[in-house]
Each structure stands twice: as structure tokens, then as C-alpha cells.
Symmetry: C3
Subunit: 318 residues, 3 copies
């Protein structure tokens, strides 16, 4: 594997999930693989789970890790080609990426969307330029439109807890939030679920339709109650609008917030969320602190998702 930016970079989805589950049992089985290899983790935006889980995963593979928080460390990057850099940006992403590619054997980048222009965000210009100029194996730590390490961890978690002998029903439901959030997590989750061996339903208020490129194959409904019927897994996440007006909050309708009552007609559904979660806004305390919540296990699996991906990238180097 040369890069991990979406499900399309994965040749055999089932094998990658299996790999993650094996690494969970034997995290130090490949600690010579990363010897003398350096992972650079570049954050243009804050991170807790992604940073710690990827750092831990790399260390278990014997890699050195260097973390760079560009935002906090005051290093504003220019992204436009041909820019006359007489403003506030101090370095072009071309040059920064090329240099970091010299010091690191594998690079990861986190770059959130600005939620101002759908064309700009959905072009994934920053991600693509960074990969192009860094010119080393690459892992996305969440980009403007996708969060593939999260999605892999989600699929690993679903695989671990799936009912025996039948395809699970997985529901992605929109939840309320006070801020306009990116579509990266739901886009990515939808894309992975459409590629996985599950029955997949998406439910959200009218106006919150995701970009169809990610939801092809999913059943989509505005009726949350109907969607949840018989669900084995409920994935809760807020997102802002994709179209026609990009990055907007249309409603904060609290009835969309999952409570135990919403679980009544499910198949004793397990509830997932990528975290961080706004308690009692996106998701209720009773769910999060109750027996159906998988959020901590899901976060724990971030480590093994990252480790499986880093292992593939390292194997691709030689």
C-alpha cells in the first residue's frame, strides 16, 4: 500500500480488518518492521484520538514518531499555486511537504475543511498537494471529506460485535449539534459501509443529504424511527449541509438525539460515535453511559486500525 486516504486505497477490505484484529491480539509481533523508520504526523487541526492512537500504533511497530502541530506552532501554509506570498502564510505546502518527505519514511496529515466553499473542500487540494510533494507513503489523519482511519476502526468494531450467521443492519443517523461540522466522518463511514458486507441505512432530516458519491448503495430515509427498526448498530454523528447551501446548520431538533427510547424497536442495537461527542446534545448520557454504547471500544480500535494501515505502508516500502 502506498497511501491510505479512502476505502478505494484498500485492495481487500476483509483482510485489512482481519489484520487489525490479529494486531489487537499481538501488537508487538512486528516491532522490527518499523525499525529505523520515522513517521511524521502533521496536524493542521487539533487531534486527541487520532494523534495518540496513531503514535501508539507506530511505536508498537518500532517506528520513531515526530508530531508537528502546525496551527499551534504558528506555521500557516499557503496552498494556492502561483500565489504571491506577501500576506500571512509563511511557507507553501509544496515546500513544507517536500521537506517533511525528506525526514520521514511515512507521513500523515490532518486537514479539516473550511466549510466555506464546497468546491475547494471537495477538491481535497491540500491533501492531494501534500501527497504529491511529500512523495512518501501517506496516511490520512482526516481530510476535508473523509476520515478513513476512523472508518476502518468502525468496521473493525462492527466486525467484532456483529451477530453470527447473518449480515448486520447498520444505521447511520444524524444527531443535533451547536456548530457546523464537516461531513468527513459520515461520508467516510457511508463509503466504508457501502463496501462492507452489511445492510446499510442512512437517516437524517431533510436537507442533510450527503454527497451521493459516498452513499451509493445505501438506503436513505428522513424517518429516523423507521430507519432504526431492527438495527444491530446505530452510528450517531452530526454533520452540516452539503447542498444546496454548503456547511449550514438547518436544525438542532432535539428529537433526533438518541435516547434509550430510540432503541425500543432495534435489535438491542449497539451505539457508536467517533468522539468527541457533545453529551446531551448529539447523544444522551443514558446511551453513552449505558450497556449499548460501544464508543470506548471503538476509540480503542483506532490504535489497531492505524497499526494495520502503517504495517501495510511499511511493507510497501521495501
Amino acid at each position: 500500500m502506498k497511501q491510505f486516504t479512502s476505502v478505494h486505497d484498500v485492495e481487500d477490505l476483509e483482510a485489512l480488518v482481519r489484520e487489525a484484529l490479529v494486531l489487537k491480539q499481538h501488537p508487538y509481533a512486528y516491532e522490527s518492521l518499523g525499525k529505523h523508520k520515522t513517521l511524521g504526523l502533521i496536524f493542521l487541526n487539533p487531534s486527541l484520538r487520532t494523534r495518540l492512537s496513531t503514535q501508539k500504533a507506530a511505536q508498537s511497530l518500532g517506528m520513531n514518531v515526530m508530531v508537528m502541530n502546525m496551527g499551534q506552532e504558528g506555521w500557516a501554509l499557503e496552498t494556492k499555486d502561483g500565489a504571491i506570498m506577501n500576506g500571512t502564510t509563511v511557507e507553501h505546502i509544496k515546500d513544507a511537504a517536500a521537506v517533511m518527505g525528506q525526514y520521514c519514511d511515512v507521513l500523515g496529515l490532518r486537514s479539516f475543511p473550511k466549510l466555506q466553499s464546497v468546491e475547494e473542500d471537495y477538491s481535497e487540494e491540500i491533501l492531494k498537494k501534500f501527497i504529491q510533494y511529500a512523495n512518501v507513503p501517506f496516511v490520512s489523519l482526516e481530510s476535508a471529506t473523509r476520515h478513513p482511519l476512523q472508518s476502518l476502526a468502525d468496521l473493525v468494531t462492527i466486525t467484532e460485535h456483529a451477530p453470527k450467521g447473518r449480515r448486520p443492519k447498520v444505521v447511520l443517523t444524524w444527531g443535533p449539534h451547536v456548530k457546523a461540522l464537516p461531513q468527513a466522518v459520515p461520508n467516510s463511514f457511508a463509503e466504508w459501509m457501502c463496501a462492507a458486507d452489511v445492510d446499510f441505512v442512512i437517516t437524517h432530516p431533510e436537507g442533510y443529504e450527503l454527497d451521493p458519491q459516498f452513499t451509493n448503495g445505501a438506503t436513505i430515509t428522513y424517518n429516523q424511527q423507521e430507519a432504526l427498526e431492527g438495527a444491530d448498530f446505530i452510528y450517531v454523528k452530526n454533520w452540516s449541509t452539503f447542498q444546496p447551501n454548503y456547511g449550514e446548520v438547518l436544525t438542532q431538533d432535539a428529537s433526533w438525539m438518541l435516547t434509550n427510547q430510540h432503541l425500543a424497536n432495534t435489535n438491542n442495537a449497539k451505539v457508536m460515535h467517533c468522539l468527541p461527542v457533545r453529551r446531551n446534545v448529539e447523544l444522551s448520557d443514558e446511551i453513552l453511559d449505558g450497556p449499548n454504547s460501544l464508543v470506548v471500544q471503538e476509540a480503542a480500535n483506532r490504535e489497531f486500525a492505524a497499526q494495520a494501515v502503517l504495517k501495510r505502508l511499511l511493507e510497501g516500502i521495501k
Copy 2:
């Protein structure tokens, strides 16, 4: 040992001090103990000595270390149970701690008091919740009311420099400062000195009484000159008021700032301070740069205090 949050977590104080002194001689004697173990250091507030000394100590034990500066990295934690998180906090401490506990074998947390409500600060709610939800061995990197790694380093330093054949006289004296500071260091120092084999005196201006739960057994006086008589060690520290009005600065009386003149009737007392120190406000240049200062040796011992504690926590894992 499962946690290190105060002197009450230490079974045998003398043995722990001895351990630190042995590790100072042989810092790499246990470097296989921490193999495949990860220490997470979570800072809700800035740190220099605590961060570097604990990181160094962990590395000498063969551990991997991951540092997270939550404040600087823009990750505001919610601490109230049942909060409806529609404000500025992005994640509940419950969830953040539970997740970090998945990635780390041992966790440390620094969390300063807000100095607004004595009930809130002295409840140590953040510390307790973090420990409860992280659910892994824990070391306090300074909490609202205590700084036990500092106190252990202080006791190690006193043990190293103590007069032979008799109990040393140790004096904790308040010093002036321009800001309202927490009581964590003096509380903790008092608590450790009351548990150690020393004669312990506390002196401060009227109104600066510490919470009696920490000073039980100490002699307390408003007369600094009297307190310093015959002292072997003088521990200088500013703190703000505990009661009746919490977190206030009542005086900046410069006569309380230790100078060489204050050493006249002491037993050629060694002077200690936890650092950082406001020179010529809390403590004079002539003391800090003179032969009686132990502040650098004391800071150096932070490493071995941390190493002794981490060693105990690691031994408690298996």
C-alpha cells in the same frame, strides 16, 4: 501501587525515598520494566520541570511517552456530570479519560485549581473523575490541592542533605508574589513533612492559614524570624489564602522575602523552592545564587522521584 496522588498512597515513605536515591545512582537498572508500556502525560496547564523530569524518568524505565497539552491544543474538557454540552467544551472528561486509558498503561494528569470556589477545587473533582474513568495506574502531575511528585523530590533532597544523627528542622515559609497562586505545593509539602521524620514549622502572615488537613502535627507561627531559628532547611513558597476568602492576595510584604540576613539565626540553612521562582519578589538573587540554595538539586531530584513512582506503578501492573 495503583495511584500516586498524595502521601496517603505511599505505604512506606522511607522505602520510596531510598528507592529514588538508588535510582539516582543507577537510572537504567530497570529499563526492561517499562518495555511495551506507554505513559500518557496530560497537561491541562503549562509545565516545564514536571513534564521533562517525568518524561526522562519514564524513558529511563524503557517506557514510551506521549504528551498531550490540552490547553495549547485547544481541547476544552467538560467536567460536570449531566451537562448539556451546548457551550464551548468539546469533550467530557469521562470520555477523554476513558479513551486515553485505552492507549496508555499509565496516565498522568496536571490540573490546576481555578481559585474561584474552594468547594470545587478542594473536591478534586477533575482528578477523581479522570482516575475513575481512565481506569489505569495513575500519577498526579499536580492537582488542585497537591503536588506529590514535587513533595517526594523535596523529601529526597532533604534526606540527601540532612544533618547526621539528628532530626532536621524544616521550615515552610510563605514568600510574596504578584499573583494569586494555588496552595497545592505548600499543602503537599506540609503533608509530606508531617509524615516524615523531621521537626516541621510553618510560618506565614496572618490570614494565610492552610487547610488543617495538611498541616496536622506542624508548629505554625506568624513570626518568621522565630520560625527560622535553628532551621536546617527553609522551604520558600507563595500561596494565596485558603479561608475565609479563598484565592486572595492579602499582602505582598517584601520583608517576608528571604535574604541572607534571614539566614543569620539558622543552622546555615539550605534554601529550597519548587521553581519557577519570581526572583527578587519571592526569593532574592543573593539566596538563589548563593551557596545555601538547593533549588537546582531539588529540581534534578524530580526525575528520580518520578522514576521511583513510575517503577512502583509498573510493578503494580503485573
Copy 3:
């Protein structure tokens, strides 16, 4: 070697360059040299290349690395002797350096000039005090007046790409910029080129004369075109004025920005820049993206320059 702050700390310049080039071929040949040794990297100002390359270099030598971003982590240092610290600084550099020297076997410091007082900046007070009080082997990560790790990497790069059988002609040319920048990089580059086996010419607009202590032996001209004739290497860099008015921007004359046209009368000159570079202000896209640019190779050599220096410092410990 006990410290690396300028070319004057290097006994045999050619041998150090050779060492860097050997390490580039065999970066892990000395990985037991740094075992149980800790490098502390203290940044009072932001850093990308210096931080990552030095961290990587140290890890290849088997060292542990601890990074402290003082600015971002809110730790304002006092530098004046005798200061009454009742203002905003929280710790004196004396105490901070002494403490960090206890935890680290080798220390590095980055400290930019304030560009307000030439006496203050050119006294290198912060650098000197830090070295004095830290009292361990020291590497400058760029100080007020010099950037020696950059200069060593520059000389390594020139050595790699130099014409066979004759001294190369190296030209340092001023380039325009929107901000007032330090003279550290051009000072240091000049000092190293004057000590190396090259023909060295400096060109800049009138009023941008560098401090003569760094340029002794160089040919200096205001005529850029004349300077560039027959050049093998062109080193582009902006700097603000040294005298009579310190730290000023006198011109942003765009004709000084290097384009392909400027290369016409050179010896197909290679173009260098320390990065970060303001594209199309300091240096044109066509140069930076063209075949004559060495900027990425130059940045890559930062790693081996740092490694050669750290190796010498480690060898000096025992």
C-alpha cells in the same frame, strides 16, 4: 566539541563536512553512541526544519529527544540579571537553563532577535546565559545573529554539488520580503563561506550591509548582475538592515527577486535558500520549481549536519 554556536567552534571544517556526508550514507552507524543520552530542544520561536531534522538526527544516534516549545506553552523567560520579576515573565533563564541541564545530556536552543536593539541582539545575551547556566554540551538551533546548523548544511550541499577541480563561485544575494527579518542566516552563511574553500561574493541593495565581523574576506557589491556573473551557487535570502538603523526594511524592490533571467550569465548556477521562502516575493516559482533549485536537497542535508554535530558533542562527553 563542547558547543556548536558558530564556525569558530569547529576545529576542522572540512572534516565536519566529510563526517556529515558519511553519515548521509550510513545514518545508523553510530546508534549506540547516543544510548541513554537525552537531547533537549528548547524553542523560544517556531521551527519546522530545525526541529524535525535535529530530532531525526538524534534518534538515528540512539538518543532520546524532549522538545519544549516555550512560546506556545506559555513559559515567558526573564533574561535580565537582577530583575525584580513582578511583571509577566514567569522564570529566569538562569533557573530554567540550570534545570534543563539536569535532565538533558545535550541541549539546543532557538532564540530569535527582537530586532529592536542591535546591542541587545548582537550581545547574544540569551544564548550565552543559557549555555552558561545549562552547563552541558550545547547546539544552537538559531540564535539572534547566527544559524550554524543551517550554514553547515549549506556547505555540505555546496560540497556535494561543487564543480570538480576548481573553487566554486558562491554568491549570497539579498531578496525582497514583506517583513523585517533577522540577519542570522546571511551572517552565518557569510561567516562559513569566508572560512570555506570558495570564492565568495555578497550582493544587496545599498543600506543592507551586514556586520563586517561576518563578511571579512568576501567581495561585496550593490550590483547584483555583476555579482551573479559566473556563479556556481546563488544563495538567496532576505534580511533587514544592520546599520545605521537596525531591523528596517528599506526597499522591497522586486527586481532583486531571482528569476530564470538572472541565471543567464551564471555558470548554470544552482540556487539555494534556507526555507521557509515567500514564493514570488523572495524567490520566483520558476526558479524554485526548476532544475536549478537545490532547496529541498539543502533542507534534507539539515539532518546530516545536525547528526555530525550531535555526534561530535556526544563524543566530547566521555
